[in-house]
């Protein structure tokens, strides 16, 4: 019944192949970002990191980075809060409209993001809000808050209701239970939801496209450059954006490990 050694090896190879294909385009972007030529053509003959220097000196790129950071930071904080309470209602408490609520929460994830961005643009226009990076935060949250809710819900499912009951039995109020029992227990879920929220917001393009008004996030700027013809800055800034995500992810994965090592 267990797969043979050969099929095990074939499956591992298949997994590696899929991973390789997933990362192949980033390899191309990486090579393009260190090509000296203004007009890219493989194989690359002369390498140079000039474009990185130009990108880091550029005011536009710095502004894009700061704006994208602001959006992603706000999205992270708000979706952690919304997701925390949303997940308790999703997984922990048995209440009358729970099944309905669970299903409605999922709908935005299934929704075409470009259309959602346009709908939000019309909505902001109708209620008299001028689109800016702040409206982009709202747009990102429509998609990311449900995802954060689901991630925290996975943790909330494994939560033993008897813990809250025991705390209540010992005289804790609802607020004290939240602070002393529920929040600490769900914290790992909340943190991974925050990480997802940041990274998904950082890389999001279709929601930003119509909702940022005169402002522009990094992926949006990249898209504008891509469709208007090749610029050597596109792969360079793209790689910088990827590097920022990878750095954050690496920190998120290693910090808990280091903390554990330090403590023991």
């Amino acid at each position: 019944m267990k797969p043979s050694r050969l099929s095990h090896i074939l499956l591992v190879l298949y997994g590696l192949l899929i991973l390789a294909l997933l990362y192949l385009p980033l390899v191309s972007v990486g090579f393009a970002s260190v090509s000296k030529a203004r007009y890219l053509s493989f194989p690359i003959r002369r390498y140079s990191t000039d474009w990185y220097g130009k990108a880091l000196e550029s005011d536009t790129v710095r502004e894009l980075l700061i704006l994208s950071l602001k959006v992603a930071g706000l999205v992270t904080v708000i979706s952690m809060v919304l997701g925390f309470f949303g997940a308790l209602a999703f997984a922990r408490y048995q209440w009358r409209f729970r099944k309905l609520y669970q299903k409605l929460i999922l709908l935005p994830i299934f929704f075409p993001q470009t259309v959602l961005g346009l709908a939000l643009l019309m909505w902001f226009n109708a209620i008299g809000i001028v689109p800016s990076w702040k409206t982009a935060v709202v747009a990102h949250l429509v998609w990311i808050a449900p995802i954060a809710t689901l991630i925290i819900a996975i943790r909330a499912y494994s939560f033993d209701p008897a813990l809250e009951e025991a705390a209540r039995d010992m005289g804790a109020s609802t607020g004290e239970i939240l602070r002393e029992v529920t929040i600490p227990l769900l914290m790992p879920g909340v943190i991974s939801a925050g990480l997802f929220a940041f990274l998904l917001s950082w890389g999001n393009f279709p929601l930003s496209l119509f909702t940022t008004g005169a402002d522009s996030t990094l992926p949006e700027w990249l898209y504008a450059k891509m469709v208007s013809g090749y610029s050597p800055l596109v792969p360079t800034v793209g790689m910088l954006s990827v590097a920022a995500s990878a750095l954050l992810l690496a920190c998120a994965l290693t910090i808990p490990w280091i903390l554990r090592r330090v403590r023991s």
Partner: protein, 284 residues
């Protein structure tokens, strides 16, 4: 006890539910209202006529809808076949390697989809990573692999792979090993186990994965614009054009409503059948 659970549940659901009501449901209702307005108006305070939907039929926009749905269907079918063996291995065969794969696949989600698609443009274009190197080594090149329908489907498969892989793996993890072994012991071949036991018992995960991929592919835009050039115009592209270059909000709204109706009907049907407690909480 029940009363408090009910109150707390309601209370905690309120922030996220209220937020989504204001910034998800309300905008969709607004789009619905715009879609029945006369053409080229910018407020909803006009006599409704349904001329935008008439335009949809008259101008052949349904072709874009058909292209979008057909490519979404193709991408979903291909994704299912590609992902099943890997999802199976992740759920039942691999141990540590499952974590490596999970992290590796999830990380790609954090890279903006247009950077990744741009990477495929650099890879597949004339003078790109593949063609450039082949010409360099063999001396003969070709025209590049971009700007056709298959490459758009390839882009959809590439971008939405995680949305098939993880639900499938979750679904397969719900198939009890005992049931598979019992079928094997009772004389079932590998193929019969797949058909009689694994596919039906993994059905919730299969359904979620297929739904997600179909719905997201049907509304996708970047794949056809970046990889497909002008090979076909997808419906989301038409929506965007109507809003921006066309400055015809009611037409854009009507086109959006057609997409929302198709995608929403499928999503609501699928979600309403899924047992979310079992899938997310792994409770049976």
């Amino acid at each position: 006890m029940k009363g408090r659970e009910h109150r707390l549940g309601m209370l905690y659901a309120l922030p996220v539910a209220g937020f989504l009501a204001l910034s998800f449901l309300a905008p969709i209702l607004l789009v619905a209202a715009f879609s029945i307005m006369p053409q080229k108006v910018f407020t909803i305070f006009h006599m409704p006529d349904f001329s935008a939907y008439g335009e949809f039929l008259a101008q052949g926009y349904w072709r874009s809808v058909a292209w979008s749905l057909a490519m979404a269907f193709a991408a979903t079918a291909i994704l299912f076949v590609i992902c099943w063996p890997l999802a199976f291995a992740m759920a039942k065969v691999f141990r540590g390697f499952t974590l490596v794969l999970t992290i590796g696949v999830v990380m790609t989600l954090f890279v903006s989809e247009n950077i990744r698609l741009f990477g495929w443009v650099l890879t597949l274009m004339k003078g790109g990573l593949i063609e450039g190197h082949i010409r360099h080594w063999t001396g003969t090149g070709f025209d590049g692999l971009l700007y056709n329908v298959p490459v758009i489907v390839f882009g959809l498969v590439y971008v939405y792979l995680p949305f098939m892989l993880f639900p499938l793996a979750q679904g397969i993890a719900m198939v009890p090993d005992d049931a598979r072994q019992a079928a094997f012991d009772l004389g079932a071949s590998r193929w019969q186990i797949l058909r009689e036991i694994e596919l039906p018992l993994a059905a919730p995960g299969i359904m979620v994965g297929c739904l997600l991929c179909f719905v997201l592919s049907a509304g996708a835009i970047a794949e056809s614009k970046l990889l497909g050039g002008q090979a076909v115009i997808v419906i989301a592209d038409e929506v965007e054009t109507a809003f921006t270059y066309g400055q015809n909000w009611p037409l854009g709204a009507a086109l959006a409503m057609v997409l929302i109706a198709i995608v929403g009907a499928i999503a609501i049907w699928g979600i309403s059948k899924a047992d979310l407690d079992a899938m997310i909480g792994r409770r049976r």
